[in-house]
């Protein structure tokens, strides 16, 4: 087989490979949807974050507006400090409420932002003051059991 034919076939192989990689990156993976470049970060203190993990979505009204960046444990207050990156296109009032919810019955946990009514907006490195912890299922069940036990008396 002459050299040009070999080159053509190898070129075809490489082209199919590149197309496959492109397909994997855009159609299968999240390379396109994960490219929020322009973000600002705020922090929020929680007493209990449940199963929240870095890279978990941050949603407002169900729309993904950012991602959880880092989660560290603050030994001064014994709180979890969650750093959140919010898409620069979205601005929130200063008294925004941060909750930790669960998607579905046993799904992953995410941070939900509920906008308040303040006239000033959150800027980079601000702290979200009002937070609500993740619901711990065992606590909920034990509260329910105590309640029903006290009713019977």
């Amino acid at each position: 087989m002459d050299r040009i034919k070999l080159d053509i076939w190898v070129g075809i192989l490489v082209t199919i490979g590149v197309i496959s990689l492109f397909g994997l990156a855009t159609k299968v993976g999240n390379l396109t949807s994960n490219s929020i470049k322009n973000t600002y970060s705020v922090i929020a203190h929680f007493e209990n974050i449940g199963g929240l993990k870095p890279k978990a979505p941050v949603k407002s009204a169900g729309v993904v507006v950012g991602r959880v960046d880092t989660i560290i444990f603050d030994t001064n207050a014994y709180h979890a400090v969650v750093k959140i990156n919010i898409d620069g296109r979205y601005i929130f009032p200063k008294d925004t409420f941060a909750n930790i919810y669960t998607a579905g019955l046993l799904g992953e946990q995410y941070v939900a932002l509920e906008a308040g009514g303040d006239l000033e907006n959150l800027v980079a490195n601000d702290r979200i003051m009002q937070t609500q912890d993740a619901v711990v299922l065992e606590k909920l069940i034990s509260q329910f059991l105590y309640n029903s036990a006290s009713k019977e008396e």
């Binding site: 087989m1 050299r3 070999l6 080159d7 076939w9 190898v10 075809i12 192989l13 490489v14 199919i16 490979g17 197309i19 496959s20 990689l21 397909g23 994997l24 990156a25 159609k27 299968v28 993976g29 999240n30 390379l31 949807s33 994960n34």
Partner: protein, 262 residues
């Protein structure tokens, strides 16, 4: 009794020494390949010819088996997921299984069987018919002329083939799940995109395929050079290539997986 014990230790020692020598010779071969790579890249058409033999000619078996593996994953996954009422997650299952594990591993096993054996048999026969010695007599380095082009061809074509395997497999799963069974097409792709991470899943799968390509090609080259120069020796070396490559791929896969996806 004491003699038997001594005999046992002697065999253990000689077996260990023989394997150690092989490992050393294999490592030396690797460094020789790296040293002579510059010479062989000057005649790049040698490498391109080998990419044609190891890559392009493996394309048919890779595409056909990927399509069937994807279709089987689609069918099996659908019947299991349907019990839990989450048949839309079929796309995630097919994509993660292929990109993380089946793509690199099955491609490497097929590669060892299709291309590795050919390399071993070819080099073993060249050695048996003293073509390699003839080259040395003519002051042509067999490493630069024969070994290095095959090494680089394997290293280049294996990741390309694994990528094609993953993509074609996902298309096979798509054909079964969406076109034949009728899972919602939007849910199939969007759930996949939400759960397959480019850096954690696709890049790690590519790293796996590069490591497997290195292991399969090195084993095939070394067994070919190490084969006794007889017909029987070459046939045994070819068998050993398949056995050792397959075990190495599966063992390396476990090690890499435990490092990557903690």
């Amino acid at each position: 009794m004491v003699n038997k014990l001594l005999n046992f230790f002697e065999q253990l020692g000689s077996g260990f020494r023989a394997r150690l020598i092989k490992l050393g010779a294999g490592t030396r071969l690797f460094f020789l390949i790296i040293i002579y790579s510059a010479d062989s890249f000057k005649r790049i058409h040698l490498t391109i010819k080998e990419i044609y033999f190891t890559g392009v000619l493996s394309l048919v078996i890779i595409v056909v088996s990927a399509f069937f593996v994807g279709m089987v994953l689609g069918l099996q996954g659908y019947y299991t997921l349907e019990k839990y009422g989450s048949s839309e997650a079929i796309g995630v299952l097919v994509a993660l299984a292929l990109v993380r594990e089946l793509g690199p591993v099955v491609t490497a096993l097929l590669f060892a069987g299709r291309a590795g054996t050919a390399i071993t048999a070819e080099i073993g026969l060249m050695k048996a018919t003293e073509q390699l010695s003839a080259m040395e007599m003519m002051a042509v380095s067999p490493v630069a002329r024969i070994i290095a082009p095959r090494f680089w061809a394997g290293m280049i074509s294996m990741p390309i083939l694994a990528t094609i395997f993953s993509m074609v497999g996902i298309l096979g799963g798509y054909v079964i799940a969406v076109i034949i069974i009728g899972v919602d097409e939007g849910a199939f792709w969007s759930q996949m995109q939400a759960n397959v991470d480019f850096h954690n899943d696709i890049v790690d799968g590519a790293v796996k395929s590069i490591v497997f390509g290195f292991a399969c090609t090195m084993i095939a080259l070394f067994e070919g050079l190490d084969a006794p120069p007889t017909a029987e020796g070459v046939s045994r070396a070819t068998t050993r290539t398949v056995v050792i490559s397959s075990l190495a791929v599966l063992g390396l896969d476990f090690v890499l997986t435990s490092f990557m996806f903690v």
